[in-house]
């Protein structure tokens, strides 16, 4: 009995630690369904809900303001990304490792393409060339 409980707890703890908050989309973001099977990595995360753009879980810009701007670049998001990247660069330098310029975009399934386009443009303008779109796996048919 105790053995089962201990094993179960450890297993749950492990799964919790593995895919904890890094990849879990914030509330209000319903990821689109897809047949993709590539598992997510721990990267910088930009989430787009119906009304706000979040960077690492913190709202940095509102969707309506981003849409109102005529430019493709979203300034607030760009600044946030630059700051986050600077932090990561410093960390990577201390660890003596190279920094992967990757970003995961968690977009709500009802988003319009123009906001996604702006976010992706802003990410690439900040030097994040490798993007991944987060999705929920469709059950295998």
């Amino acid at each position: 009995m105790m053995d089962i409980l201990v094993t179960l707890t450890l297993f749950l703890l492990k799964s919790f630690v593995l895919d904890g908050e890094i990849v879990t989309p914030p509330p209000g973001v319903m990821l689109p369904r897809s047949t993709a099977r590539v598992s997510p990595e721990a990267t910088l995360v930009v989430a787009i809900s119906n009304d706000a753009i979040l960077l690492g879980g913190e709202p940095v810009a509102s969707v309506s303001a981003a849409l109102a701007g005529g430019d493709l670049l979203i300034d607030e998001l760009g600044d946030g990304l630059d700051r986050a990247l600077a932090q990561r660069e410093e960390l990577a330098a201390r660890k003596g490792k190279g920094l992967a310029y990757k970003v995961t975009i968690q977009g709500d399934r009802d988003l319009e393409f123009r906001i996604l386009q702006k976010v992706m443009y802003t990410c690439s303008a900040s030097g994040l060339d490798e993007m991944a779109l987060a999705v929920v796996q469709k059950p295998r048919s």
Binding site: L5, V6, S15, T24, L31, A134, Q137
Partner: protein, 147 residues
């Protein structure tokens, strides 16, 4: 005899498991609640950098799928334009068949451009990306169409 032995060693008669059990009983539901059961995945996109953009596209097929309000339009330089009605029930299968046809005729082609309107829903784009990836067109790029 054995009892006396136990006493002599100072061992307790029985382990008191109750506090431990209480802890687990609380911990397990909590972890179960917070565990993620939805399988997440990602679609990798290597976006061409700005420097690479002005380079003229390689003389390939130039396959593109436009997502319009009510239909998909598959275009390629050496193919006639094909429009697929999106409202039909089996429309996604038709798109799959069309793309499969293209890949059998041009097996070297791995690129496809998805043209979306500014108001195209994200999930629609993802579903078209899924279909193209499944038919072997792995290098998907997104592009905004002029509305």
């Amino acid at each position: 005899m054995s009892r006396r032995k136990q006493r002599a060693k100072g061992e307790p008669k029985d382990l008191d498991l109750l506090p431990m059990m209480n802890l687990f009983v609380v911990l397990i539901p909590m972890l179960l609640l917070s565990a993620v059961f939805v399988e997440l995945a990602v679609i990798r996109m290597g976006l061409p950098s700005d420097d690479a953009a002005p380079v003229a596209p390689a003389p390939t097929l130039g396959l593109s799928i436009s997502i319009e309000e009510d239909r998909w339009i598959v275009r390629a330089s050496e193919l006639e334009e094909r429009a697929i009605d999106r409202s039909a029930a089996a429309s996604i299968e038709t798109l799959r068949a069309t793309l499969g046809d293209v890949t059998t005729r041009f097996p070297d082609n791995r690129d496809v451009v998805i043209l979306s309107r500014p108001t195209t829903r994200y999930e629609d784009i993802i579903s078209v990306m899924d279909v193209s990836r499944e038919t072997g067109l792995e290098n998907v790029s997104l592009l905004g169409a002029e509305s």
